[in-house]
Symmetry: C2
Subunit: 349 residues, 2 copies
């Protein structure tokens, strides 16, 4: 079952509601682009690859809901919605990448609004289908880096829920497990939204991969005690020099791993690599609602004094020197990233 | 108002119930040593200095509840309870230190059980009174390290609630604020038990010191962006070489600070320094109930899948090279700690 999927008969999108997990597994319909924007804002759908696909399907929804017969007006309406979608979460560059693919289709000129609608939908479906293939290729390359008996610290959620199917870092772990390697995962809970304890733990239970949840702050303890062989996470954007923007908490985790000589592996599709940005300092960092820190996502119960304030940067940047490997669908990239990321992007997929 | 206090007329201990903060401020009576053991276990009272005093008063409670007229039986009963108290939380060495002070009184020989009871209570009250003086002296030394305009990341709770009055690291921050220095605190929420967002935030509001709460994983983001001038926390035990055992998450925080050239200050009474232990690797690390990770302390609501497991080390060890200063009531200790901790312990208080 896919995290996000186009319902051809009813012309809308079905997504897994990630807010209600692990308590309840539920698929919900997204019938319009504004509803998709809301689902992305509230992290009902999340994860860099899934967000790329959600952007594309959001633009397809806009194309089918906009009733104009004028192809150029339709193209403009779809592009406008694409910009809105993309701006909801500024750090994950996959949204821009998907937007640009749909925008290119809008500029072709099919001769009718209906033909453009179908072409947009076809491209969105291509993006979704390619995502599955991309994730399988990453899992193949990434699982080869995992050794029988490894204990792996994993940050945030990078599994099937974060993509269309399979996932990035968690996809590699799952593939290694299916290859018969014994793997054990220490699941960073990943405050504030607990993607680790809620989503990654839920996925690992489905795959029957043994794990324990740990607080984000406890990773250093396990790394310094020699209990961990690898640290794995995804990426929301990789700069041209290999700096990795990823879920808040990734940087101190990677730093503690590097200090304790534990290899750090970031797994992401090549669409997460942004050569227009030289280093991580230029990556925009989304600042989310302080209430995510002050309250608990499960029921919005307060955990801080009334009127207390919070800051809630959603991502941080891990300098390239702490990252041992970046796994893409085109292969594994190592230092020096400046040269090797360019080379891998030039490779045929 | 003191966090922990002997009620002379009713011969029991009053403590602030730290589990119900920040929602409700409540003082509760502790009428027996087993009740004190339970309060320590459940972290109704917590914080290394407060735990030392709780151990002493717990032994005093045992002395008054034990009805024997035989001085030696009484001494043995009190010492037995002291060992039980001390073993509830193995990392904080202040509990052993307080136990040993009361034990020394038990060995003096006063000639009657009643005289021993009074001597034990007097010593426990001395320990509590000295704690206030010790904390004031630490605040004086530590506040001198804080500069007007500083933004300080603070981990866990080290305020009045963690001691009898005033506190350790937070006491220094409060003193700097009262001296008219503008200080701004980024409060690590400190999972799993949220001592930062629940207790430190509550204290800072009382003192009218401006702050924001951040997730533990977000400290690296702020440190790497040049927004933070100092990192401050307490200590549960300092080894002879200056390695600092403190609340889980301290090590990755100190590492990220050191990497970004932000001074790290640990504030603790000299009773937290354990010269019998050469380095941090030998400090026993308490492993607490996984439910603290799997559920939320506020109402025990589950945040992880049913049957998920967790690991919950309560402390980690920060290697001495990441610690810029250790502030005690006798003065500020700097590298090399091996020599300078010995020297400061030999200083008259």
């Amino acid at each position: 079952m896919r995290t996000i999927e186009w319902d051809s008969s009813r012309k809308f999108v079905m997504i897994i509601d990630q807010r209600s997990l692990p308590g309840r597994f539920e698929r919900i319909p997204i019938r319009s682009a504004p509803k998709m924007i809301h689902a992305i804002k509230t992290m009902t759908i999340r994860g860099a690859p899934a967000l790329g696909v959600a952007t594309a399907f959001g633009m397809a929804l806009a194309a089918f809901r906009c009733k104009t017969r004028d192809e150029r007006s339709l193209a403009q309406a779809v592009i406008d919605i694409g910009i809105e979608l993309m701006n909801v979460r500024p750090t994950a560059v996959n949204m821009r990448w998907a937007y640009q693919r749909i925008k290119s289709v809008c500029y072709i000129g099919f001769g009718s609004a209906d033909k453009l609608r179908l072409a947009i939908l076809t491209e969105a479906q291509n993006i979704a289908d390619e995502d599955v293939q991309t994730n399988l290729a990453m899992a193949k390359y990434g699982s080869a880096l995992i050794v029988d008996g490894d204990t792996i610290i994993h940050h945030c959620n990078t599994g099937a829920l974060a993509a269309v199917e399979w996932g990035t870092a968690l996809g590699c772990i799952r593939m290694a497990h299916e290859q018969g390697k014994r793997v054990h995962v220490l699941v960073d809970e990943t405050r504030p939204l607990l993607q680790g304890s809620r989503l990654t733990a839920w996925e690992l239970m489905q795959y029957r991969i043994p794990f324990e949840i740990i607080c984000d702050g406890a990773a250093g303890y396990f790394l310094s005690n020699g209990k961990v062989q690898r640290v794995m996470f995804g990426a929301d954007r990789v700069a041209a020099n290999g700096d990795v923007a990823n879920k808040i908490g990734t940087y101190p985790l990677a730093l503690a791993a590097w200090t304790n000589k534990v290899p750090v592996i970031s797994v992401c599709p090549s669409s997460s690599i942004d050569l227009t940005i030289l280093d991580g300092k230029q990556i925009p960092i989304e600042q989310r609602d302080p209430d995510e820190v002050l309250r608990l996502s499960v029921d919005h119960q307060g955990i801080a004094p009334r009127d207390a304030k919070a800051l809630n940067p959603a991502f941080d940047v891990t300098p390239n020197r702490y990252v041992d490997s970046i796994v893409t669908e085109k292969g594994v990239v190592k230092q020096p990233y400046g040269r090797n990321l360019l080379r891998i992007l030039a490779t045929e997929g």
